[in-house]
């Protein structure tokens, strides 16, 4: 009996395989998408997943051939991200990898992409490595972090701030923003007069705030993120600080406004143009696309887009689609040669408008955006307003 059943299964499998190989060689693009649907990074990973859903809604085929996406959860764990990437490339034979929520996991995927020679579009800020074959297989969709901070420090100089106080996290991000501010320091024009740090878990920043206020700054740069980024600003308001406030894209979210309330009014931050899409001038490259993205996001997910993460995933899809259309001339999707052709095509993406920037990838760096990818926004009456 068991033998008969085994024979039957084998027969069916053979028939299915034969049918599969006999079906016409129809091209189909396969995206392997890794994100954190669970674990601590899921606050970022879930919006990424929505961004991909919106992109599929917006553009589900390239030249009449469908784009398929296989989504895997990495649970916010770099080793799971590695496993996912291997599985997608070796078993599912995807043409490109897109992901994921944390820099650590994204670096883990980059290592796999380099080894297996698959193009990888990173949607977290990582520095794209060069593989052993001397080629880059990794491209980073986000703005390079120094650019995010430079956009703000340029404005600080322009505003005529002479004494800038800094208060930020006592971790890598806090250091990073501080170094960005330090780089903008110029003799006679701008001086950093306070460098105060606090931990994400701190209940109080009274000591740090007092020190900042005592240094009499004209402006304060906030190197925190999310709700905890509001903490020093609440303290500053309590101490009667009336000067200018500046922040990075890390504070641009709804929770920051909810917790900060009146104390964070007027803060100026940098961010992707999609954030204020409806206020952009009609001639702005991101306006039409961003509004289309929002409509697709609502249609695909049933919720309005309220974060700045989903657009990165959306842009990654656009970049892939742009390159894939050209790569198809050289090899058929699904074939190993297609991956190489796609890699070459990705590095010839030129002036491609997205929701977060205009992308031009060159072999010199894996980043594709420039100054145009950031706009300045000011918080007025609890909403972000575009500052031309």
């Amino acid at each position: 009996m068991a033998l008969i059943r085994a024979g039957f299964i084998a027969g069916v499998t053979a028939a299915v395989l034969a049918a599969a190989s006999l079906s016409p060689a129809r091209a189909e693009y396969k995206i392997g998408f890794i994100t954190s649907l669970s674990g601590p990074a899921s606050t970022i990973g879930i919006p990424y997943s929505r961004g991909i859903a919106a992109a599929k809604e917006y553009m589900s085929e390239i030249g009449g051939e469908p784009i398929n996406v296989i989504q895997l959860d990495d649970g916010s764990d770099p080793s799971a991200a590695t496993r996912d990437a291997r599985k997608l490339v070796e078993e599912d034979k995807v043409d490109v990898l897109i992901g994921t929520s944390t820099a650590a996991s994204s670096n883990a995927i980059a290592a796999v992409a380099d080894e297996l020679k698959v193009p990888y579009l990173a949607i977290s800020p990582v520095s794209p490595p060069i593989a052993d074959d001397g080629l880059r297989w990794v491209l980073c969709v986000t703005q390079p972090p120094p650019l995010m901070i430079k956009a703000v420090t340029d404005r600080i100089k322009q505003d005529g701030v002479k004494r800038l106080g800094y208060i930020g996290y006592s971790d890598a991000w806090g250091n990073f923003v501080y170094e960005g501010a330090k780089a903008a320091e110029t003799a006679g024009a701008l001086a950093i007069v306070a460098n105060e740090r606090y931990a994400r878990t701190d209940m109080s920043v009274v000591g740090q705030v007092l020190k900042v206020v005592a240094s009499h700054p004209d402006g304060v740069l906030d190197g925190g993120s999310g709700t905890q980024g509001a903490l020093p600003l609440l303290g500053l308001a309590e101490r009667g600080y009336k000067g200018k406030l500046y922040g990075t894209p890390a504070i641009v979210n709804a929770d920051f406004i909810r917790v900060g309330g009146r104390a964070v009014e007027g803060i100026l931050a940098s961010g992707g143009p999609v954030l204020v899409a409806d206020q952009l001038p009609d001639t702005h490259y991101a306006k039409k696309l961003s509004l289309a993205f929002r409509a697709a996001h609502l249609k695909a997910n049933g919720v309005a887009s309220a974060d700045s993460f989903a657009p990165y995933a959306f842009d990654a899809w656009l970049i892939f689609a742009d390159a894939a259309a050209r790569a198809k001339a050289k090899a058929a999707p699904g074939a190993p040669e297609f991956r190489g052709a796609l890699r070459d095509a990705l590095f010839s993406v030129k002036e491609l408008a997205g929701t977060q920037g205009v992308y031009t990838f060159t072999a010199a760096s894996g980043y594709g955006t420039d100054e145009r990818s950031l706009v300045l926004v000011r918080l007025v009456n609890g909403a972000w307003q575009y500052v031309p």
Partner: protein, 347 residues
């Protein structure tokens, strides 16, 4: 540093310290009665804050599922052990305590969640829902190994902390919460502005310390707890059940953890894993008191709060380094000052 700044920092330090006082006293209470250094203490504080936030948003908090699961497990373990001993008559009472009471708290929460409740009632509900966690964990994890060494109990407690953090993520999700302040009032005390929230935190610390003092000195339960703390075997000979004392200690301890969690929820964003650092700093305070003395733990915890506040002003990047470095000289001094033979008797 001007006197003005010093005064502001001192007020801030006392407010921080008062939170640590609540947690440190709870830690000492549980340690003296059960010899367990209850590492997940801070997690319970964080769970309380998350529970209150869920009530504020009219969602049934994840605590409900956690408590029901733990209650079912604890009741099962208790029932099996009673049946194996043949004590059938004790069964209804045990099930009532380990299953019906927690289920009642969850039921009350589930019924109340849809209604527009006033803040004090929401706080009470959150407390009710969080209170059963520690006693249930005690029944499941610590009761079967109650006579093990302090070191083994500590290691189990650390493992339990990690398990709870994982469960916290499962039940509460990765999002942080911050609740509305309980009061907008502020007072001017000797030229220093003190917010109502700070006053509330300090008042809670004083009230709970005083209540604990009254309990220990004037009630039979308190005396039984004290007796268990001093000598387990002796207490048992006098007719005190150490298991029952342990359950009461966990209940009282988790009340203090939950209160501190609810008090810090408006001051800081609380995530499912925020509790550990609060517990760790309170632990430094408790160590200064030698993990046995309540006034010692309270003074130690206040000292940690003050130190943190002044260190944040002097050198903010090294604040936590300064606080935790303090542990080394304190431990050295403790181990030199204490008589080592004392501990050997206990083992």
């Amino acid at each position: 540093m001007t006197p003005d700044i010093a005064a502001i920092l001192a007020v801030d330090g006392i407010a921080n310290g008062a939170i640590y006082v609540l947690v440190a006293i709870g830690l000492v209470l549980i340690f003296t009665v059960t010899r367990v250094i209850f590492v997940p203490f801070g997690d319970i504080a964080a769970f309380a804050a998350l529970t209150l936030a869920a009530f504020n948003e009219k969602r049934l908090p994840g605590t409900a599922g956690l408590v029901l699961g733990l209650a079912a497990l604890a009741a099962l373990i208790e029932a099996i052990s009673l049946v194996r001993l043949g004590r059938w008559r004790a069964l209804p009472r045990a099930l009532g305590f380990y299953l019906a009471l927690p289920a009642l708290a969850v039921g009350a929460a589930a019924l109340a969640v849809a209604h527009d409740l006033p803040m004090p009632l929401r706080v009470v509900l959150a407390l009710l829902l969080v209170l059963p966690i520690a006693p249930l964990l005690d029944r499941i994890v610590f009761r079967p190994i109650a006579d093990a060494t302090v070191l083994l109990l500590l290691i189990v407690a650390v493992a339990l902390h990690y398990a709870l953090v994982g469960l916290g993520l499962l039940f509460f999700g990765p999002e942080g919460v911050r609740t509305e302040p309980f009061t907008d009032a502020s007072f001017d005390i000797a030229g220093v502005d003190v917010s109502g929230q700070t006053a509330l935190i300090v008042a809670a610390a004083i009230v709970f310390s005083a209540l604990l003092y009254l309990l220990f000195d004037f009630t039979l339960i308190g005396k039984a707890l004290h007796a268990t703390a001093v000598n387990r075997t002796g207490a048992r000979l006098m007719g005190i059940r150490p298991a029952r004392s342990g359950a009461i200690a966990y209940l009282l301890g988790s009340l203090m953890a939950a209160v501190s969690g609810i008090l810090i929820a408006p001051v800081n964003t609380i995530f499912y894993d925020s509790g550990f650092l609060i517990g760790l700093k309170a632990f430094v305070g408790a160590i200064i008191g030698g993990l046995v003395s309540y006034p010692g733990a309270a003074i130690g915890a206040l000292f940690v709060g003050m130190l943190e506040s002044f260190a944040a002003f002097q050198s903010s990047a090294f604040k936590d380094v300064i606080v935790f470095s303090l542990l080394i000289p304190v431990l050295l001094w403790r181990s030199i000052a204490s008589d080592p033979s004392e501990e050997e008797i206990e083992e």
